[in-house]
Symmetry: none
Subunit: 206 residues, 4 copies
DNA sequence: AATGAATGAGAATTCATTCAT
DNA sequence: CATGAATGAATTCTCATTCAT
C-alpha cells in the first residue's frame, strides 16, 4: 500500500539523468548551445553529448537538425495568449501599468532569455522565426495599447495610444535583444515614465 | 618591346573588375554573404567566387576566416564620430530634431543595413562585436540627450532628457534590428512625437 | 466472456490488409523496392512501411536484410520444372514453337519482371543468384534444343540444334534484361523466324 | 641542355604511384569497386584507399559520388563511332564477318568488362546509363545489319538482315552481361554460324 | 605577391540491427 | 509472438586552411 504510489514514482524518476525525459533533455541542451554559439556553430554531436544521449537518438526524435530548432519554437517559446491587458492595468498610473506589463510578458525572465537569444540571432534564416517574431510584436502592440488606454487617468486619443505602444514595444524588444549578450540596455522603468509623461501631456486639456 | 609589358601594368587599374581593389572586393562580397546567410553558413569559397578572386587570395589577406569579419567591423562600419548634436537640432521642435538625428546617424541607410545585419546576428559570438554595439549605444545616448536638451522650447531636467534618450535610442536600435529581416518595425516619427510630448509635459510648469 | 477473445482471433484473417499474410506482404514490398531502387538503396524501414507492418517484424521473420533477398529467390522465383518441350512444339513450325516456348517460360510476365530485375541487378553480389541464373540458362538451353529438334520438319543434327538453342536463349535473356529498364529489346518473333530459317537451311539436302 | 627535357620527364613520373595521375587512379579504383560490389556498396573511403589518395581529393575532383560514375561513362567507356561495317566484312562469309565484328566492338575485351559490369548492374538507376545502353544497342544494330548485307554471297532482303541483326546483337549483349559474373554465356561463333545459315537459306532461290 | 590543388578534421545524416517489454 | 524505441558504426560531403610554386 505504502509501496504502491511511491514505488511507481521512485522507479519512474530514479536516475537523475532521466528526470527530464531524453527528448526534453535534447531540447534543453540544444537551446543552451544554440544560444551560446549559434545554430550553425553548434554540432549535433555536442548537443547529444551535453544532453547525455547517444547521437543517434537526436535523429530519431528530430530527423533534421533544423527540426530541433523549430520544435524549440513550437514547444518551448511562451506565447502571450492568455495575457489580458486588464491584468497589467493600474488605474490612473500608466507608468506602473507598463512596468507591470513588461513583467507579465516576461521577455527577460531567465528561461525566456535563452530562447529569445536564439530567436534574435537566427532571425532571417528560418521563415518560422520571422513569422513568430512578427506575431510577437503584433501581440505586444495590441496589449500595450490597451494597457495605455486602460490606465490613463483621463481619456486619450487611440492614435496617441498607438504611437506610445509602438515606442514602448520597441523598448521592450530592444531590451530583450540586449540581454542576448548581457549588455546594458534601455531602462524599462525610465521608458515607462516617459510614456506616462506623454499620456499625461496629451490627456491634459492644457 | 620593353614598353609592351609595362603598358599592361599601367592599364591594370582601369579594369572595371579591378576598380575596387581585390582586398576591398573580398570585404564587400563577404559582407553581402555574411548578411544573407550568416557567418558560419557562408563558405570562403563562395566569398572568393563572388568577389571574383582566387580562393588563395582570401587567406593571403585574411589568415583566418574570422579576420574577414573583424576587418569588416574595423574598416567598414561607420562610427558616429564627426556627428554633433547641433547638426540635428531644430530649435524648439524636439520631434523634428529627433527625426533629423535618426536620419543623420543613418542606421537604416542601405549600406549600413548589411553591416548592421551581420552585427546583430553575430552579437555574442565575437567580443569585438559586443564592444562595438555597446559603444554605439553610448554614443547615440549622448547624442540624443544633447539633441533633446538643445531642441526643447523650455529647459527640462537633464535626468528627464536622459530617460528620453534611453527610450529613443532603444527605438532606433529596434528599428535597425527589424530591418535585418525586412519586418515592420517601430515608426520613428511616431516615437519622436511621443518624445516631444514628454518634453513638453515635463517642461510645462503645469 | 471466454468466447470473446477467440472471436477476435477468428476474425483476424478476413481483414483485407491481412489477406496476404504479413510475412508475404514483407516479401512483396521488398521485391517491389529492390527492383525499383536496388537492394542497397532500399531501406528496411521503407519495406516495413510499404508492407504496412511494424519495423521489428521484418527482423523477426528475416534476421538479416539479405535474408529477405534470398528468401525471395527461394520462394518467389518460378523455376521451369514442370515445363516439357512437348508443350511448346508446333510440329513442323520451329518459329511458332519457339515463340510459344518464350511465352510458356514467361520471362516477361509482369510478375516475373520484378524478380528478374532484382536478379540481373544483384547478379554477382550473392552466390545464390549466380547459381540460380546459371541453372536457368541450362534449363532453357535443354528445353529450347528439344523444341527445335521436335518441331523441325525434317531431322537436323543435334549439334546444330544446340547452336540454335544457344542463340535463342541468349535472345530470351537479353529480352528479359531489357525489360528491367523498359528499353527496346530484341524482337522475339523475328529471332524465332531467323532460327527457323537456319533449321530449314540445315535440314534441306540442298 | 641535356638536363633540360629529360629532367622534367624524369621528375614528372618518378613515383610509381603517380604514374597514372591521381584523378585517373580514382576513376580506376572506382571502376574496380563499382564492378565488384556495386555502386551503392562501394564506399568513397574505400575508393580513396584503393586509389592511394586522401579522401578529400575524391570530392575535389568529383563533387558528388555519382559524378565518379558519370565520368566513368563519359571518359572511360569506348563508343563505337569510328567503327565501319566495312572493316568487319569478309566478303561472302557472313559467319566470319560477324565473329570479326564481335571482336572489333570488343564488348568482351578485359578492360571493357569492368565498365560493362557497372553498366549492366546500374542499369535503371541513372538515366545516363539507360541512354548509353540504348545508344549502344542502336549502333550495334546498324553495324550488324550492314555487315550482314555486305558479307552475304548473294543479296538478301534488308528486312531479313534486320532481323538477323536483332538476333545477333542480343547474343552480343547477353554475352557481355554474362561476363559480369564469369558465367558461361552464349557461344558467339556458334551464333554467327546460325546467322550464316539463315542468310544462306534466305538468299538461296531454292 | 599570388594561386589553386590538396587535405583531413569534422559535419549531418542514414540505417541495419538489437532488445526490453 | 510482436514491437518500436534505441544505438552506433558507417556514409557522403563540406570547408577552412595549407603550401609548393
Amino acid at each position: 500500500m505504502s509501496t504502491d504510489q511511491p514505488a511507481t514514482l521512485r522507479v519512474a524518476e530514479p536516475d537523475p539523468e532521466e528526470s527530464e525525459g531524453r527528448r526534453e533533455r535534447i531540447l534543453s541542451a540544444a537551446a543552451e548551445l544554440f544560444a551560446a554559439q549559434g545554430f550553425d556553430a553548434a554540432p549535433t554531436s555536442r548537443i547529444a553529448e551535453q544532453a547525455g544521449v547517444p547521437k543517434g537518438l537526436l535523429f530519431y526524435y528530430f530527423p533534421r537538425k533544423r527540426d530541433i530548432l523549430t520544435t524549440l519554437l513550437e514547444e518551448r517559446i511562451p506565447e502571450t495568449p492568455g495575457l489580458q491587458a486588464a491584468q497589467a492595468v493600474v488605474a490612473g498610473d500608466p507608468a506602473a501599468s507598463l512596468v507591470r506589463l513588461a513583467d507579465l510578458v516576461g521577455l527577460s525572465r531567465h528561461e525566456s532569455v535563452v530562447l529569445r537569444t536564439i530567436l534574435f540571432r537566427e532571425l532571417g534564416t528560418l521563415p518560422e522565426i520571422t513569422t513568430y517574431v512578427e506575431r510577437l510584436r503584433r501581440n505586444l502592440l495590441t496589449l500595450t495599447e490597451d494597457v495605455v488606454m486602460g490606465s490613463a487617468a483621463r481619456p486619450i486619443p487611440r492614435e496617441t495610444a498607438h504611437k506610445i505602444a509602438q515606442t514602448f514595444v520597441a523598448v521592450l524588444l530592444d531590451d530583450a535583444n540586449t540581454q542576448r549578450y548581457g549588455g546594458e540596455g534601455p531602462d524599462l522603468r525610465a521608458a515607462a515614465e516617459i510614456m506616462a509623461l506623454a499620456v499625461d501631456r496629451c490627456a491634459a486639456p492644457l
